[in-house]
Amino acid sequence: MKKYLLLLTVSCLAIAGHAQNLLDKVPATATMAIRYSGENFSKNIPLKKLDSYGFIKEHVFKMLHIENLRSVQNTGIDFGKDICQYVAVEDTCINFVTLLPLKNEAQFVKMIRDSYDAKKNTIQKNGYTFLPVSDGVYIGWNKTSAVIVDASYQNRQNYWTRYYDTIAADTVVAVADSTVAVTVDSAYQFTPPKIVDTTMAPESDTATMEIELAPMIEDQAKEEEERRIRDSISNMKWELWQQQQDLIARKQQEFSSAHVMDRFFSENIRSIKNEPAYTKIIDPAAHASIWINNEGILEQYWNFFEKGRYSIFGNYAKQYSDTGSTSSSALNIYFDKDKMRMETSTFSLDPQLDALGKSVMNSRQSNSLLGYVNPGNIGYFSVSINSEAMTHYYYEYMRRYLAKMYNMREYSEVVDIYIDLLEILLDEKGIADLLPGNYMFVMHDMKPRIVNYTDYEYDDEFNRKEVKKTKKELSPLFTFAFETRREDFLKKLAKLPVKYAEKSDSSYKWKEGGYYELAFKEGEMPFSSMYFMVKDGKGIVTTSKEVIDMTLAGKTYTPDENTRNSVLGNNYSVNISSKRLIEKLSTQLSTESNKKVADYLIKNLGDLKMETGIRDGMIRGTTTLQVTGNNSNSLEFLFNMMDSINNIMEQEKQEGKKKIN
C-alpha cells in the first residue's frame, strides 16, 4: 500500500514543482504516459506554499512514514522540472515507471531510506545506484535523475493446471520461467512423508462390546489419519508452488526493473514524444497530460487478472507493443486562474475505426428535448449520438476485441462469423427508430416536502401515546426524456402495466390528458409520484407534474443562451450547479463540521461543465470546474480546499475528544 501512496504522492507533489526532458525517456511502446509540467506548476503554486499546508505534514508524510521530512523542498526532487510516469509491458512484467529529476541526491536517498528499510543494501550498476525497496518496487538513481519501477510479473503459473497434468507422478514442485532461470533451492524440493501404519490394537479382548466395535473404530481412525496426511501433503505442495511462483516473480520483476533503468541511464530510446499517436493529441503547454493507448490498457487489464497478480486463467500472457493501429485518448489539464480545465481527445490511426467513431457523433440534440432544461436547474446531462452508427461501431469493436481476448486468438474466424451473424439478426435501423440517440436528463430542483412520521408523547404519568408529526424532506424533481420514432410501440409499453396494476396493489394509473401516474405510499420513495408520457416523438419519465402539464399544453422551458448553445452544439453536454446543489443538500446536515464544509464549498466551488463533440477532425471534450473565492488559481484552490476540509475535520475531532474525556 505504501508504495502506491509514495507513487501517488510524488505525482501530486509534482503538481507543485522546467525541462531536462524526461519525456525523451518514455518509450514509444508505453500504453499510458503522464507528464507533469514543472515550469507551469511551479508558477501556480510554489513549494514554500506547499510546506504551509498542515495536511501534507500531518497526513501525507505520516502515511508514508517519512515524518522526519519537514519540507517538500527537502525531498531532493527538482519539482521545477518535468516529471513523467508511464506504463509499459517488458520482460513479462507490467511496469509502472516514474521518472524524477533530482537536484539533491543525498536528500532523495535520505527520503527513500526514511520511507523504506534503511538496512537494505544498494547495488552499484552501470552509471546508477539500484535499490530494491520491496517486492516489485525498485529505485535507481544518479546525481540528476531517479527512476522508480513498480513491476508486476505477468506469467505466474496456475497450480491447478499443473496439478491435474502431473497429479499421477509429480511430487517435486519445480518450474522454470522462460526468461529468468531460477535455481530451485533444496528448500523447495518436496518429498511427501511416508504414511505410517497407524493401526491400533485393542487394549483388551475381554470387553465384548469393545472387541466388536474396535475394528470399525480402527478403520475409521486409519482412514482419518490417511486423509489428514493427504491433506497436509496437498496443502504443503500448494504452498511450495506459491512460494516458488513468488520467487520467480521477484526475480523477473527485479530483472525487468533493472532493464528499464539500464536503458534509462545509458541509452537513447525511441521516445513516445515523436509518435504521431501522441503528438496529435497531447498539448506540450498543458500543466499535466495523460495519454492512453486504449486497446493496450484493456489488454493489460486482462493480463493482470489472467496471469499477473491473480493468475486465475491459463498460460497466455500477451505483451502489448503496438502504438500505431489502435485508438488513443489524451487528457490535457490546465490550472487557469478561475477554473480547472480538462481537455480530452480521442482518435484512431486506423481510418476505419476513426471513421466509425466519428459517425457515432454524427447527431444533433433536438430543440424539443432542450426545452426540458429549466432556468435555475441544479444540473442536466444531454446526450446526442447516432444509435445506428453506434451499433456498427460496436460490431467492429467487438470483432477486434474478442479476437484478441484470452484464448480467442485461434478462433478469430469464428468470432468474425459470429459478429456477421449478429449483424444479420439485429435490426440496427429498428433499434435506431426506437431510440435514435437523443436523451436528456434534468435535475430541475430539490424541494422540501412535508412527510409524516410516528413519534411518541407522554402524559404526566408518562403513559406513551403515538402521535403523527410532520417533517421536511428534500424531494428531487427530475425529468428523463428521449426521442423515438416508434411512438406506437412506446405507447403500448406504457399502457401495459395498467392492466396488471388493477390486479395487484400497484397504483399505476392512466390519467386524463394522456399520461400515466405511478403513485407511491408516503415514505416509500423520496417523491410522491412518477409520471410517464409518450407524446410528439418523445418518451418522458418525470417526478415533476409541472413538466407533464407543460408538455400537455405543448409548451417548453426557455433555457439561457449558453445552455442552448452548449446542448445544441455538442454531442454531450453536462452542467452541474455545485453551489445550488450544495445549498439544497446542506439543509439536511446537522453536525457543525459538515455545515462548515458545505459553507466552504458554497463559497469556493463554481459550476462543473462538460462538452464533447467533433472538433478539429476528432472527438474532443472540455470539462471545466469554475473556482470562486480567495484563491490565486485553481491548483491552489485544490490544495486550499483539502487543507480547509482537513482543518475543519481536525477541529471537530479535537472537540469530540474533549467531549468524550
Binding site: T454, D455, E461, S590, I660
Partner: protein, 221 residues
C-alpha cells in the same frame, strides 16, 4: 467484532440525518414481577430506510431483507421465550413506519437479566455477558449499564456520527409502590410518584457524558 459490525450496519441503515428513538419501558410490581417493553422507532427516517432496503449493500455492509429482519426478531423471541421466568413474549415489526418492539412478562428481574444475557451470548458467542441490568431488592430498583460503545463510536466516520446527533433514549419505569428518590439527576418523577422517566440524547449516552444508570428508592405504601 460482531458487535462492532452490528453497530456499523445499524449506523449505515439509518445514516445521513437518520433519527431514531429507543424506548425502554418496565412496570414493576411489589412482588418483583412485572412486564417489559423495548421499542425501536425509526419512523422519522422511513423514506431513507425504504430506499436503503431496496439496495443490496451500503458502505460495504450487506443490507438485510425484511425476511432477514423478521427472522432475527423471531430468533430473539425464541431465545427470550426459553428463559425461565419469562412469559407472553411478543415481537412486532412495522415496515411502513419502521417500528420494532418486544414485550414480555417476567417473574422477577433476575429472569429479565437472564433473557438479556441469553440474547447477548447468542449474538456474541464466547464473550462475557453482563450479569446484571436490573436489580430489585428491599424496595430499591436499580438500572445498571455495563455496555460501552465509546470505543466503537470514536472509530466511526463523521457521516456516521451524524446519526446520533438527534437520536434519543427514553426509559420509563412504573411501579406499584411510590418513588421516594431517584439517583439520576435527569430523572423526572410523575405527580403520582408511581412512574419515572429518563430521556437522554443517545450521543450523550454513548460518549458517557450522561448515564442511563439509575437507583430508584420505593416506599412500601
Amino acid at each position: 467484532m460482531r458487535t462492532v459490525a452490528s453497530l456499523f450496519l445499524f449506523v449505515c441503515l439509518i445514516s445521513l440525518t437518520g433519527c431514531f428513538e429507543i424506548v425502554e419501558q418496565l412496570f414493576l410490581k411489589t412482588d418483583g414481577s412485572g412486564d417489559f417493553q423495548m421499542v425501536l422507532n425509526l419512523s422519522k427516517s422511513r423514506t431513507r430506510l425504504n430506499s436503503i432496503m431496496k439496495m443490496k449493500t451500503i458502505n460495504g455492509h450487506d443490507v438485510p431483507s425484511k425476511e432477514d429482519i423478521r427472522y432475527r426478531l423471531s430468533e430473539i423471541e425464541k431465545t427470550v421465550s426459553k428463559t425461565a421466568g419469562i412469559s407472553n413474549v411478543k415481537t412486532s415489526i412495522d415496515f411502513d413506519n419502521f417500528i420494532a418492539s418486544i414485550n414480555c412478562n417476567f417473574k422477577n428481574v433476575a429472569a429479565l437479566n437472564n433473557a438479556v444475557k441469553n440474547i447477548y451470548l447468542k449474538e456474541n458467542a464466547g464473550k462475557k455477558a453482563p450479569e446484571k441490568i436490573y436489580e430489585y431488592n428491599a424496595g430499591v430498583f436499580q438500572r445498571w449499564n455495563k455496555y460501552s460503545f465509546k470505543d466503537d463510536y470514536t472509530k466511526l466516520s463523521n457521516a456516521d456520527k451524524e446519526v446520533f446527533a438527534t437520536a434519543n433514549y427514553t426509559a420509563i419505569f412504573k411501579f406499584e409502590s411510590a418513588v421516594s428518590a431517584a439517583s439520576n439527576k435527569e430523572t423526572r418523577i410523575a405527580p403520582s410518584k408511581k412512574a419515572v422517566m429518563l430521556k437522554l440524547n443517545t450521543l450523550d449516552v454513548i460518549t458517557e457524558k450522561k448515564s442511563i444508570e439509575n437507583k430508584i428508592n420505593l416506599t412500601n405504601r
